[in-house]
Symmetry: C2
Subunit: 518 residues, 2 copies
């Protein structure tokens, strides 16, 4: 871009006629040339890349460092120079902002980060995100994102193959699984009542959908957002292992019908957020078929098991779903956000449901096959190339390595589970099916107290206190919550292929170290 | 992460009790150590960074290169090695995929890319995106994204200051302006009928909103998605310059009331997609006040004018809006997607409207001020740190340089407009207010034909043909469309601070070169 540096600093000579339009010249505007010093930003970009390489790729992921550098909101506000001013600053100062942002951010790629349903990303995926961030494609049309329209298609097809939709289907990548669950709900409703798109719900009967009490909270958010209402999400009880009970589903369906409402959808979960449970898809599909309901499977978290020959049985029957949400950014480490919404329909339902046919993007007189212009399937307009980094890491690693990683994470969860069973003071909430390992730590002072409301009231205070200490120490990050009748417990999530049995032992040792005096 | 390389390759010894759970060991799983060669990926990341620096930052933005390397979907499918296989591949091959992806992607940072309401991003913003992509924060909670929760707050506050909300307000960053417009609609409806969240629209009267015929298509998408229905978007005529006519709005409101429907919202546009027009916010605010309607301003594209003392008059009255959507990834080049939704309410409406209070994220017994946990204001769960790169570039450049860029783009649009007026064969559609310059090119063979349906039928075919030729040449990218009664015309969008009057001259020369024989 050196041309910009040598541009003439002329001013335009405007005809008087433009004055009537409210236009007159900004004397300081240079019409040729930029004030910004491009060689300076070039060197800044170089230095920033070195910084990211050193501080994130190498250092932050190393077990010897801290997982987080906890500061209270007040203290961190003081430490970061947040204010936005009139004048710019030297590149060195901007580089320091990057260094600070890295330093005070949670190290999601640290081996002892077990806090969420994702961890810091695979290196190939990271490079994929750098490529798309630098090139800035937006997937409205093939014209604007030729490479990425094709890649998204290939990745969706591969995922559909894993689901078992032998005849294919349709799909789109979304900014997050919550969005995918919304798509499912909108599609299910549109398929049943196509008039809803134009006339809205005021033209429809009361619509009811069903999901289990263990579902992700996005189902409720979606129902509220789509105008269905959270009360029209009928919550089906789950069994002790967190699975939706098909007989209870049938009961709820009959209740809804007896109320004069119209059931239209069941949202099953493959890999629940807290317990990591898998709903019995096969049996739910039977119920859905009988009652003509759309079956959506929220496999955002559990979908990765489809890559494992050992564990794909967890999603048995998933090929009978009408739609599936699956986030490769979770277990597969494809980087946020990489969320696929997949639909079995092959008649263009997705496009019919969401299209608005904007004339400035989706011209009919284009010179290429406009079936490649997939943007109108989306409720977004600009849309990032989220499939690319998943595709790139898949190419680099191959399906077998992805399978190995899934198997590794599940084995590690098994190892941790056995450790919990063996150790004094640790109590397992339930046998895990996936890599969510839920357990209580009981400090020595409470171990003799018999099970009772008082005992559990004491236990309730343990996890938050240990969590506070682990954050302030920065030794690891593990989530906790209360859940139903269960007092606060830890929920360990295992994902990274770079964790070992030593890390599992460390977690239990560290919890004991942090909480033994409570 | 060298520790992973030296890990023992042990196998776990599981107690028989786990068998009942359907678990047994995957013999090939290594519980300590990873098969992946980390030094190898380290070197891959390094090489990829060099590639991005050379091919995107330096080369793709250079005027001497092509804007796009057009291939048909069929040809490009053959050129790219898309298939996902069982085995992985060597890093060199993965690097080649990155090179190919860059080569065949549109060069959005090229000075002759004028196709969309965004261009390839500012270098500081690009580095900001690299930082967040590498560190992978997710903005549910302060615990998970301390730096980014604070930065998002500061950026939102600064944007509200620019809008003129002296007492502040609330807001959130979203994946795109379409999403922000949906938020506005949901908030407006919830504020009027809070019961809609639980009970859905079946408990409400027919709700109607108003927007101009020039609005973005996301308003229709939002109405469909939210269950309001596209027919309940009453489309208000615009005047010849593309501005909503307040008197026509009043008429439509009266019509809706007479039908027994309940008007609840007006969505005004500050910077329309095609013409770049600004609705008369002050007058629309008067109408909204009179009828007690929520006023939303979709300033996704035009919001940047608020940074310019010269041009902020375009949004006169915007401080009277209840909500504003503003995308810094458009005119301000903050990189996709950087979209703020801002709301004047200070009572927590945004949170009340969208919250679902998930127990595993938004625990009440945390050890810090949970007002920093902003995630429940969102309809997403995981949410990227989109504000960071805007903040970083703002810090680096300062408000004055952002203002200068906006002024520069508008001056350039003015220069181009005057060029169109002066040249034979170019006809301006209307005087631009912003940087959308809409015009026809009339090839010499048609210049003698009098204005008539036949003439415009011939003109209709010109822009698509020239577009095809410019894509295949790769010399530039400019969008076209038909619009209302107007036959296909070019819509130039000027954003980049690195374009000069020479580039404007080039555009007109090149269109003539490509179309003179038609």
């Amino acid at each position: 871009m050196d041309r910009c540096m040598t541009g003439l600093k002329e001013k335009t000579n405007m005809p008087a006629s433009t004055e009537g339009n409210g236009w007159s010249h900004v004397e300081t505007v240079q019409l040729n040339g930029s004030k910004e010093d491009l060689p300076e930003t070039d060197s800044f970009v170089q230095q920033a890349m070195t910084l990211i390489m050193d501080e994130v790729v190498r250092k932050a992921g190393h077990v010897s460092g801290k997982v987080c550098e906890w500061r209270s909101p007040e203290d961190l506000t003081k430490l970061l120079d947040l204010e936005l001013g009139e004048a710019g600053q030297a590149p060195a100062q901007t580089l320091q902002h990057c260094r600070d942002a890295i330093h005070y951010s949670v190290k999601t790629n640290h081996p002892h980060f077990f806090n969420q349903l994702y961890v810091g990303l695979d290196h190939y995926a990271m490079v994929g995100s750098f490529v798309t961030d630098a090139t800035q494609p937006s997937l409205y049309t093939y014209e604007m994102a030729p490479v990425h329209c094709l890649i998204e298609k290939v990745v969706l097809e591969k995922m559909m193959e894993m689901i078992g939709w032998v005849e294919g289907g349709d799909g789109i990548f979304n900014p997050g699984g919550s969005m995918s669950n919304m798509y499912a709900m909108n599609l299910a409703r549109f398929q049943r009542f196509p008039e809803v798109k134009e006339q809205g719900l005021s033209a429809c009967p009361r619509l009811v959908l069903f999901t289990s009490e263990e579902c992700h909270y996005s189902v409720a958010k979606a129902a509220a957002f789509l105008g269905i209402g959270t009360k029209n999400v009928y919550v089906v009880p789950a069994d002790q292992s967190g699975k939706m009970i098909p007989k209870e589903l049938e009961k709820q369906i009959r209740t809804a019908i007896s109320e004069g409402a119209v059931p239209f959808m069941v949202s099953a979960t493959a890999g629940t957020t807290v317990l990591g449970s898998f709903d019995p898809i096969e049996e739910l599909a039977d119920v859905c078929e009988e009652h003509n309901l759309w079956l959506h499977v929220d496999a955002c978290w559990g979908g990765a098991a489809l890559l494992s020959n050992k564990h794909k049985h967890l999603l048995k029957g998933v090929q009978r779903a009408h739609s599936v949400a699956w986030n490769p950014h979770k277990m597969l480490m494809a980087g946020q956000q990489c969320s696929a919404f997949l639909v079995r329909d092959k008649t263009g339902l997705l496009q019919r449901c969401h299209s608005a046919c904007a004339s400035y993007l989706f011209q009919k007189d284009k010179f290429y096959d406009i079936s490649c212009d997939t943007g109108d399937k989306s409720i977004q307009c600009g849309r990032k190339a989220d499939a690319f980094r998943f595709w790139l890491m898949w190419k680099a690693l191959g399906t077998r390595e992805l399978e190995r990683r899934v198997d590794h994470a599940l084995e590690m969860a098994r190892y941790l589970t056995e450790g919990i069973k063996k150790r004094d003071g640790f109590r397992l909430l339930m046998e895990p099916e996936y890599t969510n390992v839920c357990f209580w730590y009981i400090p020595p002072s409470m171990r003799k107290i018999p099970d009772s409301p008082e005992f559990w009231q004491k236990v309730e205070a343990v996890a938050p206190k240990i969590k506070e200490r682990m954050m302030k120490t920065g030794s690891m990050m593990v989530g906790y919550q209360s859940h139903g009748i269960n007092a606060n417990f830890f929920r360990m999530i295992i994902i990274s292929p770079w964790v070992s049995t030593k890390d599992m032992d460390f977690v239990l040792d560290e919890i004991h170290r942090l909480g033994a005096d409570l």
